[in-house]
């Protein structure tokens, strides 16, 4: 639970202290706090859905409502499980809301990619080439060729698959993590390593082969 010494040197505010006290209470106070917290989380989830209207335009209305309630449910469960991780670096409600945003955003991304295949590497390169500006076209083509060579020769097969999906094809990291049976954090770490290798390759400063 949060102590007096928070990361940014601020004392825990009275509202946050009250939330922690109510959630720590074994009686009806706790139940009332949980219901109130769920309502706050649902409001946050609905905010995400409204803000991402373009991404959820094709979702049936009932599905949107279900998605918001499920996100609030999942967020509440995560908060209860991880309450001891609250360090008081923000107000308690801000800390709690981030769980709702995480759950709602992941749900939207996964729903959007539910029936979509991960695009091929060729599709990724085509999309990337289309981003080239008309000015400096020659340099752009040379950089593109150098990058393709780097992806082919400087990355391990798994790094290559992750880089192509996440960086070239803009597949959401949580969607790819689900399909590759791994975690979002592990995939992003692999992407970071792949990007470092490619930067080094493009700068011509390394000739090492992938592990």
């Amino acid at each position: 639970m949060a102590s007096a010494g928070t990361k940014y040197g601020m004392a825990l505010d009275p509202d946050s202290q009250a939330w922690l006290a109510r959630l720590d209470d074994g009686g009806p106070n706790r139940q009332a706090a949980l219901e109130e917290l769920h309502a706050l989380l649902l409001r946050a989830a609905l905010f995400v859905l409204r803000r991402r209207r373009a991404q959820v335009a094709a979702f049936p209305r009932e599905e949107l409502d279900d998605l918001a309630v499920e996100a609030a449910d999942e967020a509440l469960m995560a908060i209860i499980t991880r309450l001891d991780e609250y360090r008081g670096d923000s107000r308690f409600t801000t800390w709690a809301w981030k769980f709702a945003f995480f759950e709602a955003s992941e749900a939207i991304r996964r729903r959007n990619w539910m029936s979509r295949e991960i695009p091929s590497e060729d599709a990724g390169w085509s999309a990337f080439a289309r981003e080239a500006s008309p000015e400096g076209a020659l340099e752009q083509r040379e950089l593109l060729a150098a990058l393709r060579a780097g992806v082919e020769h400087a990355l391990t097969p798994r790094q290559r698959a992750v880089f192509v999906a996440l960086a070239l094809n803009d597949v959401p990291v949580d969607v790819l993590a689900e399909r590759m049976h791994t975690t979002r954090g592990a995939l992003y770490k692999m992407l970071h390593e792949a990007r470092s290798r490619l930067r080094a390759h493009l700068a011509g400063s390394t000739h090492s082969s992938p592990n």
């Binding site: 923000s90 992941e106 970071h192 990007r195």
Partner: protein, 83 residues
């Protein structure tokens, strides 16, 4: 040009925007898990008008390189600002 090496003046290459995007930030950065752990404090700094990027450069670098974390950050910040 071979592999985008340094130019004749010995300067590092200046990547076009598209290349910058796919290569992501070059700076040290936190992991997705660390980003989630610290994002509430980070957005409250931003909402208070503090230069959070200067205070937490490794968070800023991660947000520049991870679209999913950036999306959640943007939503949370917009929500806080609307309260």
């Amino acid at each position: 040009m071979e592999s985008g090496t340094v130019n004749d003046r010995g300067e590092p290459p200046r990547w076009p925007e598209a290349l910058e995007r796919v290569l992501g930030p070059d700076e040290p950065q936190v992991s997705c898990e660390e980003c989630f752990a610290g994002i509430d404090g980070y957005v409250e700094l931003e909402a208070a008008g503090v230069d959070a990027a200067a205070a937490e450069p490794r968070m800023k670098a991660h947000l520049d390189g991870c679209p999913a974390c950036k999306e959640e950050h943007d939503d949370l910040l917009a929500f806080l600002m609307s309260q």
